[in-house]
């Protein structure tokens, strides 16, 4: 995440709301959507959470004091939205006494290519991880964020994020090399 671009976005948001909004969306709409999608799986849920994230970002922009990067602030909001949905879905499945609840499955969705077996298995492997390891892995591997930035998103320390990332990687390799 280039700091200079974020500075431009912040000053554009202060000067001209629509111009700032367009710059913000150009840079963050896809990474934020994919970050949420990797956590919630369902396209519809990812769409809802992404929309909610940007509405919140835009409406509470004046509360952004620059204590962390703009990107980290946006990703923190996005992560909270995604985890809220994950928790809601888990509770729904538990209340329905779904035997698959809590089991590592990739839910049925129209926008998943189940034919790509290796890619499906990798996502299953990621979903078998504890949340902190999932976040550390996704934000490092897919978003290529630094440990410090991930720490400010997940309210952790860079050292903890590093440990979680390496644990996640080891578990994923083990899972991928296992037979189904």
């Amino acid at each position: 995440m280039a700091t200079r671009n974020d500075t431009d976005i912040v000053s554009a948001l202060k000067k001209n709301a629509e111009n700032g909004f367009r710059l913000l969306m150009a840079k963050y709409k896809e990474p934020v959507y994919w970050h949420i999608r990797r956590l919630v799986v369902s396209h519809d849920d990812a769409q809802d959470a992404t929309q909610e994230t940007f509405v919140r970002v835009f409406r509470s922009f004046l509360q952004f004091k620059g204590e962390c990067s703009l990107g980290a602030w946006i990703f923190r909001i996005a992560t909270n939205e995604a985890l809220r949905i994950v928790e809601r879905r888990r509770e729904e499945r538990l209340s329905l006494d779904d035997p698959e609840a809590g089991v590592n499955t990739l839910m049925a969705d129209d926008y998943v290519d189940y034919g790509d077996l290796e890619a499906v298995k990798l996502q299953k492997a990621i979903h078998s991880l504890p949340t902190k390891q999932q976040l550390a892995f996704n934000l490092r591997y897919y978003n290529e964020l630094g440990y410090d930035e991930i720490a400010s998103i997940t309210n952790s320390t860079a050292a903890n994020v590093k440990v979680n990332y390496h644990l996640a990687k080891e578990k994923i390799i083990k899972y991928m090399n296992s037979t189904d």
Binding site: E18, F21, M25, K29, E30, Y33, W34, R37, R38, V41, H43, Q47, D48, T50, Q51, E52, F54, V55, F58, R59, L106, Y111, V112, D113, Y114, D116, L117, E118, A119, V120, K121, L122, Q123, Y141, Y142, K169, I172, I173, M176, N177
Partner: protein
């Protein structure tokens, strides 16, 4: 599936897809919602209903206090500043809603 999984082989490939034109459509939806302050989803509507009900109760209490003022005149300044403070603590969205509903209220504008 091949043994000895290699991250380099799969890279960032994911099985997830999106409908065609999805990102542009989503951006337009978000801009529409940001501009209007209205929420399209059921969840948000329910949440807003609770906010409106709360705002309505607060406004009704204020109106009653203004009509049947039990306090001496001197204390009114303090009461008004508290009301102003409470109003200032509301979100922009709720402030706009309060204003749109009560700006023509005959009791409030007496």
């Amino acid at each position: 599936m091949k043994k000895d999984f290699d991250f380099d082989r799969i890279g960032k490939r994911m099985p997830y897809k999106t409908p065609q034109g999805f990102f542009d459509e989503m951006e337009a939806n978000i801009w529409k919602e940001v501009q209007s302050g209205l929420s399209p989803t059921r969840k948000r509507k329910t949440h807003r209903l609770h906010i409106f009900a709360g705002a309505l109760a607060v406004a009704a209490s204020i109106a009653l206090l203004l009509v049947f003022n039990p306090f001496p005149f001197k204390k009114q300044a303090g009461s008004f500043s508290k009301v102003e403070q409470a109003f200032a603590n509301l979100s922009q969205e709720d402030q706009a809603y309060m204003l749109s509903v009560y700006q023509e209220d005959i009791f409030m504008n007496e």
